[in-house]
Amino acid sequence: MRRLRGPLLLLGGLALVALLAPWLAPFDPAAQPDPIGLALQPPSPAYWFGTDPYSRDVLSRVLFGARSSLGIAALSVLVALTLGAAVGAAAALGGRVTDTLLMRGTDAALAIPRLLLLLLVVAGTGPLTPASLALVLGATGWMTTARLVRQETRRLLATEYVRSANALGVPPLRLWRGHILPGLVPTIAVNATIAFAAAVPLEAALSFLGLGVRPPLASWGNIILEAEGRIRSAWWLVVFPTLGIALATLAANLLAERVRDVAGERS
């Protein structure tokens, strides 16, 4: 358990920063004090992380960006897990036909590169609010969860314990809620952190293509976008948000690994 402390602390710290952004940020993240005179200032005692082309404070935007980036990622994970668990469980508990249909559908969704799938969806929905962006990210990220949940459910169904419960006539839904779902928790937990680690950079990539969070809201992705064409001269617009993305992804990846290790040691 102690090995989980590092990544958990890191994730918790980032979440805390996101929550406390309004109190931590030295400036209003949307304020443009002087778009001509104060634009693109390098880091200085007044602006620790420099300013962007609108003269907005990058530190404040990175802090507020944590809110949208992490919030969107977390929400998208929730959506992906719910969808994935539903599809996976339905495939495992339903008949052969349901199973085949759902799993071939999952394969199909997996065979389309996720970024392309996202583009297709975003092209259809038009400009997105942060909440709908999370929804879309989640809707394109449920497939691995579905596969794992199906696999795990089938394994649990085959166990002595569940088989006997089944024989005793426990209704399927109660069986699912009472006996299978708790058994799925470790799988889902590991999967959640992996999905989270995938969602954070994906939000950034979408912003890079100009389809992410809309202005004036800050996200790590759209701060980097402001550096477009000036990566060398305005490195602070890339480095600080990238640090945020890397830290969040790193923590989630580490957590997933350690949880798996801990679970492995226990079994």
């Binding site: 949307a30 304020a31 443009q32 778009p35 001509i36 634009a39 693109l40 082309p53 609108y54 975003v122 092209a123 038009g126 400009p127 100009g210 389809l211 809309r214 202005p215 004036p216 477009e228 064409g229 000036r230 990566i231 060398r232 001269s233």
Partner: protein, 550 residues
């Protein structure tokens, strides 16, 4: 300041008046472009990359001179037509084709090719952007192999300009069935033209290669080869310029000028352009176009919003000196341009007072103005592909917030943007128009939308009959002075009405490799002088070596 810039632009134009300067033959120019061409045959082209390539491949009948004066015929030069004469009533112009003009396959250019060129533009299925310029041209008659006559319904000042829109096309090579098949024909992918360069290859998403025509009727182009090399990221395209992997980048962003100056092999060339940007109000309800907009039909409100926006500061912040504040729906290159149009001044305090007097009071809870239950909140549509326009919107958003106006930004990728703009699904739109030397486009972009093709691009549905009348009077006038007077009146009306916040007019800064000697940059298509470019033999790069015969 304004006058100096104008004088500068004019002197640039004057510099390229002389025809084809001769110089050493040989060399290769690599043009880095941000996107692939959409077509290579002039009437089918929409993108600027397509225009560049197609206008090197094909010659026009006649071409407008560097003065860009569209009135009369004094400033036009013969191309495939070596001369022309007017009928006594000025309703017909007869063109005489150059007997030396040949297609790249060796066939002579004949009268039937002019007819073919015109019918491709005219066929609505081809969606040619040249078509609107043909208004007034009734028919074309052929007299023998090398003589065609254009017949006009009535006299107008820009009658001759229509003729300059026609690119003859090789009738013997075009697909024989209806014109709409041209776009998907194999000819359109490997066109045989009449211009100073001939087609060599077109690799999708990668490059287009052209080679000089040895025995061109106007003389051989100096450079041997022209390559358009495609880099979708502007940063990559520019980096190729810095690394001498490419020679020309058309529009260097303001933020990269400093970098360009650091490279001794790069020369910056500046000129004015035909693009302008604006933020237009929607006069109709975005949810139901039949109804008026809930508040933007109020002229006082529009003027107050215009007053709250510091347009010169926005232009400076985005473009530094690479754009100029806009004075109305026109660019300085058009002969009707008038920078004395009275503007709505930037005055935040006055804007706030006017808003108060109109009943829009600041709600102390969120700082946003309300009138009754209505909040002064609206959505501005911007295209995702244009960082500059998004920047303009973000800057306006913050300025408006300071007077209690809540502006939301809706960024949509291009197709969605256009679909929404055309359907009127926006409160405000940050748009841009690419104009032409003729002010004719105004009838489509700002005049009242009506069934006869007027105001078809007026997506905000601005409507003022006095404006419409002034525009039409200007287009019908014959004397240049009258043309200008009517347009001046129209410009002042639309600015006073605050139909839009007229934001900026672009100046472009191009980066060109220093080994080239080139005539002045033509703002209506710099490539028009490309056949005159030369490379100093002492500064040749390996890629300038003469291509081996094959």
């Amino acid at each position: 300041m304004r006058r100096i810039v104008l004088a500068f632009a004019l002197s640039l134009l004057a510099a390229c008046a002389g025809d084809a300067a001769r110089g050493p033959v040989g060399g290769t120019v690599i043009i880095a472009a941000a996107a692939d061409a959409d077509a290579l045959v002039p009437p089918l082209v929409g993108s600027s990359q397509g225009r560049l390539v197609s206008e090197l491949l094909f010659d026009r009948l006649v071409e407008i001179g560097p003065s860009l004066n569209t009135v009369g015929d004094a400033d036009f030069r013969g191309r495939l037509a070596e001369r022309w004469n007017w009928s006594a009533d000025s309703l017909a112009i007869t063109f005489f084709l150059d007997p030396d003009a040949r297609w790249h396959d060796g066939q002579p250019v004949v009268a039937a090719d002019v007819v073919a060129g015109l019918s491709v533009i005219r066929d609505p299925a081809n969606g040619s952007s040249l078509r609107v310029n043909l208004v007034g041209l009734d028919s074309l008659t052929v007299q023998g192999e090398r003589q065609v006559t254009m017949h006009f319904g009535r006299r107008t000042a820009e009658q001759f300009y229509a003729a300059s829109m026609i690119f003859p096309l090789p009738a013997h090579l075009l697909p024989t069935d209806s014109g709409s098949a041209l776009r998907t024909s194999t000819y359109a992918r490997a066109p045989v033209g009449s211009g100073p360069y001939r087609f060599v290859s077109w690799e999708p998403l990668s490059r287009i290669e052209l080679a000089a025509v040895e025995d061109h009727y106007r003389g051989r182009a100096r450079l041997d080869r022209v390559v358009v090399s495609i880099s979708p990221e502007p940063a990559t395209g520019l980096a190729k310029i810095w690394a001498e992997e490419a020679d020309v980048w058309e529009i260097v962003p303001a933020g990269d000028i400093a970098e360009a100056v650091r490279h001794p092999h790069v020369r910056l060339v500046s000129s004015t352009a035909f693009d302008y940007g604006f933020a237009a109000f929607n006069f109709r309800d975005p949810r139901n176009r039949e109804r008026p907009h809930p508040f933007f039909t109020d002229r006082g409100l529009r003027r107050a919003i215009a007053m709250a926006v510091d347009r010169p500061a926005i232009v400076r912040a985005i473009f530094d000196t690479l754009a100029m504040p806009l004075y109305g729906p026109f660019v300085r290159l058009q002969h009707t341009a008038d920078t004395t149009i009275r503007q709505i001044p930037f005055d935040r305090a006055a804007a706030a007072t006017i808003l108060d007097s109109l009943g829009w009071r600041v709600d102390p809870r969120d700082g946003i103005r309300r009138r009754g239950t209505q909040r002064l909140r609206f959505t501005t549509l911007v295209p995702g592909s244009s960082r500059n326009r998004e920047r303009a919107a973000v800057l306006m958003q913050e300025q408006l917030r300071q007077v209690g106006v809540d502006m939301q930004i809706e960024r949509a990728e291009n197709r969605t943007f256009t679909a929404k703009r055309e359907a009127g699904q926006f409160d405000m739109v940050v748009g841009g128009w690419l104009t032409t030397p003729s002010p004719r486009g105004l009838r489509g972009t700002w005049a009242t939308n009506s069934a006869d093709g007027q105001g078809t691009q007026n997506d905000g549905r601005y409507s003022n009959s006095a404006f419409d009348a002034a525009v039409i009077a200007g287009l019908d006038a014959l004397e240049p002075a009258d043309v200008r007077r009517h347009f001046r009146e129209a410009y002042q009306i639309i600015v006073d009405d605050a139909a839009a916040l007229f934001l900026y007019e672009l100046r472009v800064m191009a980066a060109v490799h220093r080994r080239f000697t080139l005539p002045a940059w033509r703002p209506d298509g710099w490539w028009r002088t490309l056949p005159e470019w030369t490379v100093d033999p002492a500064q040749r790069l390996p890629r300038d070596a003469r291509p081996t015969a094959n």
